[in-house]
């Protein structure tokens, strides 16, 4: 095309530009009289043709064609030659729209003017009859040579030809001719003035005569006059398709980047819009991924999309849903909800129950949500209370109003004490462990009498162990080893815990404890372990028992436990949590430390503070309970104290397997601590809590015990080690139980203690102080 000339021109003199454009064949005749003669002559030639023609291009009959061809050729030549032409005169009028010199005017009813080419372009190619300036509908426009005459001044006598189709009235036939010329199938080759009969004809012509091609997509979609299309050699066409005129450094770029390709069909489309329509109709996209990210991702068909659904999302596998298609969910929870809702009737009760379980692993909890949850849970817990005392959820744990809670509390206490005594008698520490977990921290506080006891226990345990193992047959031993291995992995090779674990098993064997108690103790031990993993372990353990009834009752106990504790996912509630799931807590707490230690300690602390403030009240109100709370809190505190006795315990923290719990942890931890005593929070490496529990025993000697004693303990601790910090917290609890005043005192004590305590837990100290404020 004439682009080279054009650009040369335009770069030189932008506004007026050159007129060399191949397209504007008639333009040369515009304002200048130079060519007048030739033009007129032509006009005359064509007069007849134009006269009878209704202006539809199809009209070009053979004869006329020849004539026209001739004339166009002449015109083209003239154009080429007359380049430096008169049009560049100052008075030449320029079309507002295309910035080219106007050869004929187009006047709309609103009296806005454009050049006839722009008008024709809009009307014939863009199919819009609105005014280019003001968008007023212009069913008819007048093509005229007058630059000033108003639309309404034209009378029918001024019009020689009318084209109803595109809505043009012509002032004279010369304009008609120039206009029609634009609409013919002119060969784009600048040196060729052949006008063809239609697209097929033109394609054939271009191929045969010029050995070039036209882009099929462009000829179909591009809104330009025929002669404005481009001719391509084979390679050029390829490039045009794939890259467009994106040619860095080239002069004539338009930003056209090629025709987009549908990767599935290998078919190209004119533009992104066309490709989009195609994809929308022929291909599929994943609405879930769409929701997540803006970038549309297509799949060739539903089959491939379904594969994606299965792989990356949660697709309902019921037959009817498969047939319906698109029954797929973003989360497992949504899927379960759907299954319960739509297919609930076809599922067994067990399955349904399982479905209601929510795996918190990947759950990102928000406080408010958890709170709601908690409310519901606590009620249930109370109801359930009778069942699994030692179990995870301690009904009493709630920070509820003292009055209502009281009765339960005592109950529980009594029960616990009893248990404690029993366990003490039986020597199986295990029980304790169990108790501890359930009512987590309780023991520790009271219990601080530590080291010696724990040792004794340990030895006892060892003895049991040996006794237990020696008589076993080999096969069983193998299995046994397997179990131990699993357990030690789960326990992070914590020897103390491991021996507890063995201990528990053997005492169950010897009927020293019930299956339920065993489960509880496991729970205490494996506080960090997911219930699934724990389930596996328990099943393996059950397999070890020769006594079938023992194995069965263990399994049953486990199932019961799950039924009770898993119905309600132990959602980490914020402060409120205390009530509900001690075990959950225990778990949480233990994990917390690890989590915090490994990662974001600071974040946690801030949260803690917040929680504290919110919980402060509740904790106070539930004074008497606090004690028991204390237990809960204790878990943490106890853990701390335990650390003393068993300093060697590796904190599981670092190695904690990535079970989901961790995520929850941060929330929980703060919450639990918050509800209890703030000081408890700061508790250090909770993970130890378990171990401590073991040693400790006396989960029982609860609150009742004088604060002073506790203090004494605390102090002693402190002296000994950092564990001291934790112990103080215990004190605080105790004091709470007594009286608020006492509490405050205790708190202050704590503070001091912590101060003495160790350098390690500075952060904790800080917290405590804050707490003090609360107290």
């Amino acid at each position: 095309m004439a682009s080279a000339q054009d650009t040369a021109n335009s770069s030189g003199d932008a506004p007026r530009g050159g007129r060399g454009r191949g397209r504007s064949r008639g333009r040369g005749r515009g304002g200048s009289g130079n060519e007048g003669g030739a033009r007129r002559g032509r006009g005359g030639n064509r007069g007849a043709f134009a006269g009878h023609a209704t202006i539809s291009e199809g009209n070009g009959n053979g004869n006329a064609m020849n004539a026209k061809d001739l004339s166009t050729r002449v015109a083209k030549k003239a154009e080429g030659e007359t380049k430096p032409e008169p049009e560049e005169d100052d008075d030449a009028e320029v079309c507002f729209i295309c910035a080219s010199t106007i050869s004929h005017h187009s006047v709309a009813p609103c009296n806005h003017r454009t050049c006839h080419i722009c008008a024709l372009r809009m009307r014939a190619l863009y199919k819009t009859k609105d005014c280019a300036h003001c968008r007023t509908a212009a069913p008819m426009v007048i093509f005229t040579d007058s630059a000033t005459k108003h639309y309404e001044e034209y009378s029918t006598s001024d019009i020689t030809t009318t084209d109803e189709n595109i809505g043009i009235r012509y002032e004279n036939n010369e304009i008609v001719e120039d206009t029609l010329l634009l609409l013919r199938y002119n060969c784009p080759d600048p040196s060729c003035d052949v006008a063809c009969l239609g697209w097929p004809d033109l394609h054939r012509h271009v191929r045969a005569i010029h050995h070039k091609k036209m882009c099929d997509l462009c000829t179909r979609h591009k809104k330009v006059f025929t002669h404005e299309h481009e001719l391509f050699a084979d390679k050029e066409l390829q490039r045009h398709m794939t890259k467009g005129d994106d040619n860095p450094g080239a002069v004539d770029q338009s930003g056209f980047k090629g025709h987009p390709l549908c990767g599935f069909c290998g078919q190209r489309f004119y533009g992104d819009d066309e490709l989009y329509v195609h994809c929308r109709e022929k291909h599929e996209r994943c609405f879930i991924c769409d929701r997540r990210s803006g970038q549309p991702q297509y799949y060739q068909n539903y089959e491939t999309l379904a594969l994606h659904f299965r792989k990356d999302h949660f697709m309902c596998a019921e037959r009817e849903c498969l047939e319906d298609r698109f029954t797929v969910f973003e989360t497992e929870m949504d899927l379960k909800a759907h299954q319960l809702e739509k297919h609930g009737s076809t599922l067994s009760k067990d399955v349904r129950r399982d479905m209601r379980n929510v795996d918190l692993a990947a759950f990102d909890l928000r406080t408010s949500y958890a709170q709601e949850r908690r409310g519901g849970g606590s009620q249930r817990d109370q109801q359930r209370e009778g069942r699994g005392r030692g179990r995870g959820r301690d009904p009493n744990a709630e920070p509820l109003p003292a009055s209502s809670a009281q009765p339960l509390r005592r109950d529980e206490q009594a029960f616990q004490r009893q248990m404690a005594i029993q366990s003490a008698q039986s020597v199986s520490t295990r029980t304790f462990g169990g108790q501890l977990t359930s009512t987590p921290a309780a023991p520790p506080q009271n219990v601080p009498r530590p080291a010696p006891n724990s040792e004794a226990v340990a030895t006892a345990v060892a003895g049991l162990d040996l006794a237990d193992l020696s008589p076993q047959e080999q096969a069983r031993q193998l299995r046994h080893r397997g179990v131990i291995e699993r357990a030690s992995t789960l326990l992070q090779n914590d020897q103390t815990k491991l021996s507890q674990f063995r201990n528990s098993i053997s005492s169950y064997r010897s009927n020293a404890i019930t299956a339920t108690a065993l489960i509880d103790s496991f729970f205490a031990l494996f506080s960090d372990t997911s219930s699934n993993a724990l389930g596996t372990l328990i099943r393996e353990v059950a397999d070890l028992y020769e006594d079938k009834s023992k194995a069965d009752s263990l399994r049953t106990a486990w199932n019961d436990w799950r039924a009770i504790n898993e119905d309600y996912p132990s959602l980490p509630g914020p402060s409120g949590m205390t009530d509900a799931l001690p075990q959950g807590w225990a778990r949480v707490i233990s994990s917390t430390p690890s989590a915090s230690s490994t990662s974001s300690a600071p974040a946690k602390s801030t949260r803690v503070l917040k929680l504290k403030s919110s919980t402060a009240q509740s904790s106070r109100s539930s004074v008497s309970q606090t004690r028991s709370w204390g237990t809960a809190g204790a878990s943490s505190s106890s853990s701390a104290s335990s650390s003393n006795p068993f300093p060697g315990l590796p904190t599981p923290a670092g190695s904690r397997p990535g079970n989901g719990r961790i995520t929850t942890v941060p929330w929980v931890a703060p919450a639990s601590s918050g509800s209890n005593t703030p000081p408890a929070r700061p508790t250090p490496p909770p993970s130890r809590s378990v171990s401590r529990a073991t040693d400790a025993f006396p989960a029982l000697p609860p609150a009742a015990k004088p604060q002073t004693t506790i203090f004494g303990y605390g102090n002693g601790r402190m002296v000994r080690r950092d564990g001291g910090t934790a112990s103080p917290s215990t004190n605080a609890w105790g004091s709470n139980a007594g009286s608020s005043a006492g509490a405050s005192a205790a708190a202050s004590e704590n503070e001091e203690g912590s101060g003495q305590g160790n350098g390690k837990k500075k952060g904790n100290k800080g917290k405590k102080q804050v707490l003090m404020g609360w107290g």
């Binding site: 095309m1 004439a2 682009s3 054009d6 650009t7 335009s10 770069s11 932008a14 506004p15 530009g17 454009r21 397209r23 507002f96 729209i97 295309c98 910035a99 080219s100 806005h112 722009c118 372009r121 809009m122 863009y126 280019a132 300036h133 003001c134 968008r135 809104k223 330009v224 404005e228 860095p248 450094g249 080239a250 002069v251 004539d252 770029q253 338009s254 930003g255 056209f256 803006g294």
Partner: protein
């Protein structure tokens, strides 16, 4: 193609010689008149004041019969501009059914500036920002200022 270039060249000359206050225009690539880089100062008296925003104006090959597109390359927190990498701007005059071939780029730039001065929350692309604009003007201003400071310097 060729025709659009003529018109574009003309407009480019106009805008370069007499740009709207606070706006400078250059070609993204000297050989392609269809892509313009626009640097626009945040209009004084708006939360965007002090920020320098880069925009990309793309003129289609059938300009002026088809509307150009104007995108913020600098992130801007504004009800009518998507707050993402694209920075798509919802400018009334650029909509397909409103666009007039007679509209000039100059007027597009002024309209864009005007939109910074007066967001149009009823025609928003960022609903949350629009809501803030309507319900908490002070908060809106503060946040917009923060983002301006963050991104438009």
């Amino acid at each position: 193609m060729a025709n659009s270039q003529r018109r574009i060249t003309k407009e480019l000359a106009e805008v370069t010689s007499d740009p709207p206050a606070g706006v400078t225009v250059s070609l993204a690539n000297e050989s392609n008149v269809h892509e313009w880089n626009i640097m626009m100062d945040g209009p004084p008296g708006t939360p965007y004041a002090g920020g320098k925003f880069k925009l990309l104006l793309v003129l289609p090959t059938d300009y002026p019969f088809k509307a150009p597109t104007l995108n913020f390359k600098t992130k801007i927190w504004h009800p009518n501009v998507t707050f993402d990498e694209k920075g798509s701007m919802c400018l009334g005059m650029l909509k397909g059914d409103v666009w007039k071939p007679s509209s000039k780029i100059m007027s597009i730039l002024t309209a864009a500036q005007q939109l910074l001065v007066e967001p149009n929350p009823d025609d928003a692309v960022e609903a949350s920002i629009a809501q803030k604009f309507k319900e908490d003007k002070a908060g809106f201003i503060k946040e917009a200022q923060e983002y301006t400071k963050k991104y438009a310097n």
